[in-house]
């Protein structure tokens, strides 16, 4: 509506201001005693806790992030490895799509959490079980996003390639894949965030490290500050991964540079 696009500088300043207002009023409400710090610690306290956990003698935070990231990225990589090719097949063939759609619709709405009972039965409580939870929580989404990206490939590009003499395989390799890539990547970006939401489920049982584990034990010890540190760490990690992912997109999709929306 407002015509003027904002520059990067302006966006950053306004965003920082927005954050400041949010965090500031939160801090004020706690300091003024409106909010009991036991229920919601002040941001400054959370930050202090975070620094403590990051630098203290134990320095657990880095280890937790590493453990959780390993679990998330392994589960996510598995999802992508299975989901992208299968999604491409579903996107390219009406038959495969029709055949697999019902099964996918059944699996998709099941939250990672609901796989805890079964995954424990099947895989115990080792790392595989955690990968499996992340995988089950993100796999169907990868499938859906990839299928969608493939279906959305402009038919005319496929026809054009065939018209230029491309075989079926060449068409897949030279047209379907690069044409679907931007949408597959942005789908994967969403799924990566979804995969992170699974880590709390994955680390509920049988873990002794990781951000999810930290949140759960903090809860048991009534340490609300540490619960919030855990939550904030997840947010920040996802933010950083998001930036990384955008950079990968920038590298992989040179023809889309500058074509992004704000």
């Amino acid at each position: 509506m407002d015509n003027r696009e904002l520059g990067l500088w302006q966006t950053t300043v306004i965003g920082a201001l927005g954050l400041l207002v949010f965090v500031g009023s939160w801090e004020a409400l706690v300091r003024l005693g409106v909010i009991d710090p036991y229920f919601l610690p002040a941001p400054s306290d959370i930050l202090r806790r975070m620094l403590q956990m990051a630098t203290g003698p134990e320095a657990v935070l880095a280890h937790d992030i590493k453990m959780s990231a390993t679990r998330v990225l392994t589960g996510f990589a598995l999802s992508a490895l299975v989901g992208v090719p299968l999604g491409l097949a579903m996107g390219m063939s009406h038959w495969v799509r029709a055949a697999l759609n019902p099964v996918v619709s059944i699996i998709r709405p099941l939250p990672a959490l609901s796989w805890i009972p079964l995954s424990m039965l099947w895989l115990g409580i080792d790392e595989q079980q955690k990968y499996a939870i992340v995988f089950m929580g993100s796999f169907a989404s990868v499938l859906v996003y990839t299928t969608d990206a493939t279906v959305r490939v402009d038919e005319i590009l496929i026809i054009a390639a065939r018209n230029l003499g491309a075989s079926r395989l060449q068409t897949i390799r030279h047209v379907m894949l690069p044409a679907a890539l931007p949408n597959i990547l942005s789908g994967l970006k969403v799924v990566l965030a979804i995969a992170w939401t699974c880590v709390i489920s994955a680390e509920m049982v049988g873990a002794n490290s990781g951000l999810g584990f930290r949140i759960w034990t903090a809860k048991e010890w009534s340490d609300t500050g540490q619960v919030l540190v855990g939550m904030l760490s997840i947010s920040l990690t996802v933010l950083i991964l998001d930036i990384l992912f955008r950079w990968i997109e920038h590298i992989l999709l040179p023809w889309q540079r500058g074509a992004t929306r704000s």
């Binding site: 048991e220 010890w221 009534s222």
Partner: protein, 332 residues
């Protein structure tokens, strides 16, 4: 909170009591099933919440008013400055219900070296575990691997062989011990705590919501009176109490519940004055706080737990007023 202050249609006060399948909740179930609460003007609603800290949080939020829970959770909440509750009693002593069980092939503590032990972190069994390991010369941080398990998952994880040893309290403990070839390496009765104080590592404590109690102390006194009347009934009718508990509240063999309940020592309302003082459980609490704070670094400060104690609420309205809350009642 205002919502729960409302009386129900029958003119009864609505009270939400929260708890698990642990035997320590039998008096509440009896109070509900035998109409004792109703007699005193309370409509008690039972809600299942498996973990102590979840129960304490439910009370802190004002949505629940009464619970029995583990001492450790109470102490860590105190340590983090939660002032939304009163500690009003310690209704039972029942050591010997939780212990460390190892899978077949592990029969001694030193065989645990390098092995994996699973239990719910942040509960009494964590203390039991650490004390037992220490007593047998094992360093919990280095010599063994500890993993966090949900309370309900412990038996299945152990049975499936996913951990080498596990700890849990009843009713899960029986399931651990029942695994063929499994060895009970140690019980809470083997710990220093038991040897010094004669209690389990994390005894049951009674908690009332502060706002709710302050809003109408008379009502709170009445409620506790009803609770302890139910407790007296349990004390005197263990067989019938078993029937009340089984099926609806605990899914366990009737005979097992019976034998377990017989091991319980129940403290009535008068006995509370004997227990809730420096010669009683307070000394045990000081000891536990030392461990939690100095050894485990699990809590940031040692809370002045006496500030949360409110024995006024134990006085019954017809007993008239007393001048001192901390003064113990005459023995006998």
């Amino acid at each position: 909170s205002s919502q729960t202050d409302e009386q129900t249609q029958g003119g009864l006060f609505r009270v939400v009591a929260v708890g698990s399948q642990w035997y320590g909740h039998v008096p509440v179930w009896v109070g509900i099933e035998r109409g004792i609460f109703i007699k005193y003007g309370f409509q008690v609603e039972w809600r299942f919440i498996g973990k102590s800290m979840d129960r304490l949080n439910a009370i802190s939020s004002g949505e629940a008013q009464f619970a029995s829970l583990g001492e450790i959770a109470m102490l860590s909440a105190m340590a983090h400055g939660n002032r939304r509750f009163y500690w009003v009693g310690n209704q039972d002593i029942a050591p010997g219900f939780e212990g460390l069980v190892a899978r077949p092939g592990i029969e001694r503590f030193d065989q645990l070296r390098g092995k994996c032990i699973g239990f719910p972190f942040g509960s009494s069994v964590e203390l039991t575990c650490r004390m037992l390991l220490k007593q047998h010369g094992l360093n919990p941080g280095q010599d063994v691997r500890l993993v966090n398990l949900e309370v309900g998952d412990v038996p299945a994880v152990f049975r499936a062989g996913n951990v080498d040893a596990a700890l849990i309290w009843e009713p899960g403990f029986s399931q651990l011990a029942a695994v063929p070839g499994a060895t009970v390496l140690g019980m809470d009765t083997d710990t220093e705590v038991y040897q010094r104080f004669g209690t389990m590592t994390g005894p049951d404590v009674l908690i009332l919501g502060k706002d709710w109690a302050d809003a109408d102390p008379l009502r709170a006194q009445n409620f506790l009176k009803a609770y302890f009347e139910a407790l007296e009934w349990v004390k005197h009718h263990p067989e019938k109490a078993t029937d009340v508990a089984r099926g609806r509240y605990i899914q366990q063999d009737r005979a097992l519940i019976g034998t377990n309940l017989e091991k319980f020592v129940w403290y009535g309302i008068k006995e509370q004055y004997r227990v809730m003082n420096d010669r009683g459980i307070f000394a045990q609490v000081e000891y536990i706080l030392d461990i939690l704070h100095d050894q485990m670094h699990a809590i940031p400060v040692k809370p002045k737990f006496r500030d949360w104690v409110n024995l006024d609420l134990l006085r019954t309205p017809d007993m008239g007023s007393r001048d001192s809350t901390s003064r113990p009642p005459p023995d006998g």
